[in-house]
Symmetry: C2
Subunit: 201 residues, 2 copies
């Protein structure tokens, strides 16, 4: 039986765009509230199927979670890369860093449950899942290493401060933003501008 929508009013209608995608979407939204809050039964409910049916699309919960987290990194990576390319190759280091901050914040705070889940939940994930996205995360980190190096070369970094410190200061601040950000208090553009201005001189 293909399931009568009317018999499942709470869950809404059938999966329209791939059940696999719907499962990932639901998992990403749940994962923002933690790994254990992300139950297979709640994912299934939100998609409009039963818990057991998930295993037709994924091998395990950790398979889903790993996919979500990896996609979260990929999304923010692409957002930052696109923002930098939009600036053109002759943009100043100052503008490039601010654009990267803005793109990162937008991805994590506005656009993508995948990215915010990836940032918030990562360190509480099972070690096996963490291992599965170390590569992607390392790759993304390289962008920031490059941006800070550019800024340092342009003399925008305080003298005597290591580039590692600057990168970790900046990434820590933007990754923590999910803990306090409220759209009505300060816009993402303002935050990005203030953060960049504070760190560069």
């Amino acid at each position: 039986m293909k399931q009568d929508p009317a018999s499942n009013p709470a869950a809404g209608q059938r999966p329209e765009g791939g059940a696999r995608r719907q499962i990932l979407d639901a998992a990403a939204a749940l994962l923002r509230q933690g790994y254990d809050a992300t139950t297979t039964r709640e994912i299934a409910t939100r998609v409009g199927i039963k818990a057991g049916s998930i295993y037709h699309h994924f091998a395990s919960k950790d398979d889903i979670v790993g996919t979500v987290v990896n996609e979260g990194v990929r999304v923010v990576h692409e957002a930052v890369t696109a923002a930098l390319e939009a600036l053109g190759p002759e943009a100043a280091a100052r503008q490039r860093l601010e654009a990267a901050i803005k793109a990162h914040l937008r991805s994590s705070l506005e656009h993508s449950d995948y990215t915010s889940a990836s940032i918030r939940a990562f360190s509480f994930l099972p070690a096996t899942v963490q291992e599965g996205c170390r590569v992607e995360r390392r790759r993304y980190e390289e962008i920031w290493r490059g941006l800070v190096a550019e800024a340092a070369a342009a003399g925008l970094v305080a003298p005597g401060v290591s580039q590692d410190s600057v990168r970790l200061l900046l990434l820590g601040a933007v990754n923590w933003a999910g803990e306090w950000y409220r759209p009505e208090r300060m816009s993402i553009d303002e935050i990005a501008r203030d953060f960049a201005t504070s760190i560069l001189r």
Copy 2:
């Protein structure tokens, strides 16, 4: 029966300093890995008692967790306050901010499982537990509000940048430090100096 230590070799010996304190210590250590990783049974095992016995000392798991989180904030609050008082009242804003960063980092990364648990796990806690320590957290936040205001008054903050942005940038960076800090890579003193130098001019 007062429990024969030899019959429980894995758990080690009896609670020496108050069972209540031992329960809180175990819970704090576990809470660093998340709220759901903090099971009453694992707490009991580490203390060397059985799960049911916990309820002789605490009303519920959330009672324990709430106590741990509150104590975590209290510990870092006292550490920062003590560091500032040790500097004396005539210290420059620059030194005061760096000392506060150092004390916060030491508390969270070296001294106190309570503080690191409080920082890492807070946003994944049940709402009722969160409510129970909003006051203490707000009180601690005030210290940083004051330090940033001092720095701004001394002209150490970049022009055009709101004090809120500076505080959130800084607190985000130090709170996120638990995610990457490895004692062999960079000392806490170095981190504190670099963070303060980066943000102040």
